[in-house]
Amino acid sequence: MSLVQISNVKKTRMPLDQLGQTDEFRGWSDGLPVAGGDELDSNSRRDILKIMAAGAGLAGMVSCRRPVQNIVSFAKGVEDLIPGKPLYYNTVFNLGGVGQGLRIESNDGRPTKAEGNPVHPTSKGAANVYAQGSLLSLYDPDRCSFVMKDGSASNWEAFSTFAKTHFGTLGDGAGLAFITERNAGDTFRATVAAAKKKWPKALWLHWESLNSDNAVLGAQLATGAMGEMVASYDKANVVLSLDCDFLGADATTVLPTKQFSKKRRVMNAGDEMNRLYVVEGTYTLTGGMADNRLRLKPSEVAGFAADILKLVQETGEAKVEGEGRKKFAAAVVKDLKKNAGKSVVCAGPRQAPIVHALALAINQALGNIGATVTLQAPLNEPQVDALKALGTALAGGQISTLVVLGTNPAYTMPSDLNFADGAKKVKTLIHLGMEHDETATLAQWCLPQAHFLEAWGDARSSDGTASIQQPLIAPLYGGKTPTEVLAELAGLPVARSYDLVKSQWTATASGDKEKFWKKILHDGMIEGTAFAPLKAAVDVKKVAAMPVPSASSGNEIVFQQAVGVYDGRFANNAWLVELPDPLTKVVWDNCVTMSKKTADSLKAGMGYIAEPGDMVTLTVGGATIDAAVVVMPGQADGVLGISLGYGREKVGRVGKGAGFNAYKLRSSATMGYAGGVSVAKAAKNYMLVRTQDDEEGDRQHDRPIVRETTLEEFAKEPKFAQEVEGPQLDSLFPDWAYDKGNQWGMTIDLNTCTGCNACLVACFAENNIPMVGKKFVAMGREMHWIRLDRYYVGDEDEAQIAVQPLNCQQCENAPCESVCPVAATVHSPEGLNDMAYNRCVGTRYCMNNCPYKVRKFNYLNWNKGKTEIESLGSNPDVTVRMRGIMEKCTYCTQRIVEGKINAKTDPAGRRAVREGDIVTACQQTCPSDSIQFGNINDPNSMVSKLKATSRNYALLAELNVRPRTTYLAKLRNPNPELTAEKKPAAAR
């Protein structure tokens, strides 16, 4: 791809390109510390900023070309680059050792959006928040941008020279240790194997602070062989989750949600629906979807699982009696038995191996294994022993050379290992990372890591399917991958990641190797690489006889995975930091969640409307942190929840000062949850910022907002959701006929929506949504075009959760349109409520008159101070809005236009837009397929069919605004034996 061609494409990129040719620029860039080193005496912030600015300038040039190595496949698109047309490549994103198949949109050589790979078996076209958000990390101006030696600038050549001499003298590897991120990809494994062969005595730790080691060890307990349980939720009528957030954080979200939602799609009265029982301490997204939920402390779950196993093994008709937990167990077992072979019992990664073993045993006893549940070889081996060994060696000062590849142990390691102290005893610490993080500050050599969109690699997904990770852009900061660095350290003959990956996969291929290589790149997956079911039997008797740890009596704290920042690696990613936690709605911080009773007993209260709330001091085994309180109805009393990944000390400008570091409380024995927590109200206050932060804003106040009933009631009263609406009001003026062409509409199924936030991140990327920062979210100025409203339903203790995605409803009688004095928001002939940014003067009258409050105003120039490099990630099809104008969801109007142009210019002849030609960003990525968009003029479109169902209702229809987005009412399917005495929690 020649430079000239690209320049023609993107005129705005030209000046930089030309700038790069000038003598002036050359002179300046040659003098950069990257080349010399004199300028950079220390890694003070000032210098770092200088370097970053330089890096940003250089990176702008880098973006003018596509990577040198051969990206060959167009997964979807045209033969060659057509100006203004994006290209799509399939690749894979490895997070915590599990790959997620992605399709990346690339505009003029710049990746701009991460979407799920539709042909990938575990993605099916959807992507979770991390996979989508990781795109922004590529353009993070705070990334490590050059090699650093002892705090001063160096380069890769210098490092290679050093590595050759240093690693050549290590002999059998005694005193050498590696801590790497997890990667189940074959290339990485092969490289590690080669390195292990070279240094047989080296210590290895594949470290992820959030992992599923307990599940693997649980399978080992139950079967004798290491394995992982894989459930097919689309085959299960009854699901029992034992503290397992399989719809949220405890899985890659996408596939389980896809499967689960299939069983929850109810078109007509009388349709079947699955039933979900959740046993958990804190509230999770899965708990929010529960039909029946039991609040238990995490330490009580093991005992509960044992009870279930016992009851399952009993023969004869089960009796549902007693109270609380006992009754719940009896009812669950009765239901499970009724659905033997058609149910799933799953256990969460926070729970000890025994709980996983019990879950497997229950599945075995019910005959689920082989039907709804399979066992497969683990993607990643448990590292419990490796962690112990490394901890001892570190503490004993036995490690002289420590290589940390792509992970941040100084921040994420269990606190009892005292990594930072141990690392100080290490003579040579080499760190490869995307950020100059906590570990990098301890290291002698800091190496910049390549982003996954910059480098070659491979990964395996949760079912074992392997995919090639292909880059879309040359490394912006000259980074390398862990595999590359490891190969170089081990002195492997081939150290280029492209060659490593290609040779790994083509070596065993039969037939035309080049063709095979091109095919697997194109597909983004390698067929036939999924793991076969493990041939191991669960020994139910053995598991039933195992001792079950007894529950602890005191307070317990649960360490949760943050829905935004994951384990802390995305702490500098504005999209994921300003992503509201789906349940607490907190942005920019984490918090301690607790039930009202617990909070009252501590006399701690939360702050509303951006007022400071109370903090509590948490003490676990000597470690203490202070954190701000959020009251979470429905949480078990005495259970505290806190997300990991916040409170980073060495982090870029975004993550600075965000939240509280819960890792300090987490030891290697209490990775999931810790008992014996002493908690007391602290004297300090802290302002938490929530996007739904009114004191009364968590409840629906008897308004028909999220309309909800039980499956049983629905069968009797199929039109319950429409009943609250009055008759349609007549107008003096005739309606627009929409008698030709298209008329757009959307439905959102509240019954399948889990509230996972994926649609928000998809919208951020697609529509160039600016992030505004904590201060301005506190003022209520977040710019999210789609938000997820979360309401508590029912009484405080047993509150259920109702989630409602809310974007612009594109009203037919739009209240915003009639009040705009300059006609900046007008109706399109296809029914859309268009926003003409150029015409908007910013009176904000439309926002005031919008009953849904989905219009967002650019109070300030949110793009001010955006670096050149950050701008690279913008979608060129969508205007970046200036200050002083209003904006809102457009139903992805750029995609509508693209779809119409494609239909018009179809090589087969001009045609009408067909179903599926146009998908909105939120719809595309929704793992539960809750969002449907299409032409409501076409009676056969999915959206028309859904709008015709009896669950369909319009929010605030009583205002006669006639929204085009309608909702399908929520249903719950509670066990009648558990809810008989209570009316279902509010029909509305």
């Binding site: 409307i609 308004r703 100025r781 300059v822 005031n848 650019n858 104008i885």
Partner: protein, 483 residues
């Protein structure tokens, strides 16, 4: 002249002559001219300079704040989502409301032949103009792109290439306010012409030229008077519907929306009554001070104040009734959103604003039922300040408490003003006072010719002997002036 004890008939509102306080100073033609015109002729008093200096500084702060806001964005204010309008529109409606008293006094009371208005109409009209000027700042500067605010005017415009949206109440606002501002200015100016001529006649040099220019060659001939009276009458007729229409249309900004708490049909009369209420309160606040400072207690008398207090009592009671009706309808309509909005006003997070409004607007004017209180100047001054505060809070309550909690609880929010909000608002008082001080310094603050007209009208009445005698004494003088 010996002090006279005022009798009840002296305080008869219909009898214009009696309104003037004969007990203290003479109120002959000469005295009126002398007392009023000398204010603009004497050397500028130090106190004026001090007051002007302070006002000017505060006004400069206003322009500083507006400059900062234009350069940075509306985000320097505390507005947010859902509260798209807050202090900006509150202050706009507040000032527009104040601007109602002037035209009401000049036009409506003129048409109703309420001649006691003559002493206060000039100052009230000036106040109207300056209040409209203050109000006008907000619709312009509250928009996100101030440099495009002219797009709201239906003028040929290559940027828009189309008409404005005539369905939008904001566009009606543009017409209503610009019309009101223009007519008020004309009305005020037409009324000023004979007085400007009076000043011209007494002045020399450059001063005489300036006043002469603005006096438009007034010579006081019968034709002049005839044309003048006709023009004044016509403008009064034109202004009268405007008094009602401006605030009606301002109220449409809210009433036309779908928002509970805004979407009510009671708004037009309720807003007009409130505007008159607040306008009179502001006139009262100003005149209590200025009559004292400029020694005009014989021209602006306790009788004027009492009449104004009666109007405030009336309009205040209407406003209180409107508050009650709103609540009743919120309950009676059975609309749950409406009901919530009103309960939320009284008991929600902004309860303090609501109860400030109720105490200031409904309770405080009720003291004027008592004659003793409505003729007590310090007391009425305090009450007028309360009413000013209360009417500001009324607009705040309507705008902010309706917006902050509307239909979907998830979108509810809270507004807090920033220092820019506060300084901008204080700054508008600086602008107002600066303009008012310039007015009292350069323009006769009492309509001399009209007051004299009242004197002349009384001539044919049964006057006390001494007064008749006085008038006879000074006939020559009077005739000279009239010529």
């Amino acid at each position: 002249m010996a002090n006279q004890v005022l009798s009840n008939s002296d305080l008869d509102a219909i009898s214009p002559r009696m309104v003037l306080d004969k007990g203290i100073r003479r109120t002959g033609y000469k005295e009126v001219t002398e007392d009023v015109v000398s204010i603009v002729e004497v050397k500028t008093p130090m106190a004026w300079w001090i007051a002007f200096g302070i006002s000017f500084l505060i006004m400069s702060m206003l322009f500083g704040m507006l400059g900062y806001q234009v350069m940075t964005g509306v985000g320097v204010w505390g507005n947010n989502s859902p509260i798209g309008w807050a202090w900006d529109i509150t202050n706009f409606v507040f000032w527009i409301g104040i601007g109602h008293a002037g035209t009401l006094i000049s036009a409506i009371l003129f048409l109703f032949r309420q001649k006691w208005r003559t002493s206060i109409n000039r100052a009230a009209e000036a106040m109207t103009l300056f209040a409209v000027a203050c109000a006008g700042i907000y619709p312009v500067f509250h928009v996100g792109r101030v440099w495009r605010a002219y797009w709201l005017f239906p003028i040929p415009n290559t940027d828009l290439n189309m008409w404005q949206n005539f369905r939008s109440p904001l566009l009606w606002d543009v017409f209503a306010i610009s019309t009101y501002g223009t007519v008020s200015l004309l009305f005020w100016y037409v009324g000023l012409i004979p007085d400007l001529a009076t000043v011209r006649d007494r002045a020399t040099g450059f001063r005489a030229k300036i006043y002469g220019f603005f006096a438009l060659g007034w010579r006081g001939s019968a034709v002049h008077w005839n044309n003048y009276e006709m023009a004044y009458m016509l403008l009064a007729g034109l202004s009268t519907p405007l008094v009602l229409s401006v605030h009606t249309i301002v109220s449409f900004d809210f009433a036309v929306s779908v928002l509970p708490g805004w979407h009510t049909t009671i708004f037009p009369p309720y807003f007009v009554a409130g505007a008159v209420f607040s306008g009179f309160a502001m006139v009262m606040t100003l005149l209590v001070v200025f009559r004292k400072c400029f020694d005009l207690e014989h021209l602006i008398t306790i009788k004027h104040f009492e009449n104004m207090n009666k109007i405030m009592l009336t309009t205040g009671t209407i406003v209180g009734y409107a508050y009650g009706t709103e609540f009743f309808i919120a309950w009676y309509s059975g609309n749950p959103y409406e009901r919530f909005a009103f309960i939320n006003r009284a008991t929600g997070p902004y309860w303090w604003a609501y109860w400030t409004m109720i105490s200031c607007n409904v309770i405080s004017p009720q003291f004027f039922w008592f004659k003793k209180l409505r003729t007590n100047i310090p007391f009425m001054f305090v009450i007028s300040i309360f009413i000013n505060i209360g009417m500001w809070f009324e607009r705040f309550v309507i705008i902010v408490t309706s917006l902050h909690r509307d239909f979907l609880p998830s979108s509810w929010g809270y507004f807090r003003p920033t220092y820019v909000d506060i300084c901008t608002f204080i700054g508008t008082f600086g602008l107002f006072m600066t303009l008012f001080l310039l007015f009292v310094r350069f323009i006769p603050m009492i309509a001399i010719s009209e007051v004299k007209g009242v004197l002349a009208a009384d001539k044919h009445r049964n006057l006390p002997e001494e007064v008749e005698a006085q008038m006879a004494d000074r006939r020559d003088e009077i005739m000279k002036v009239r010529a």
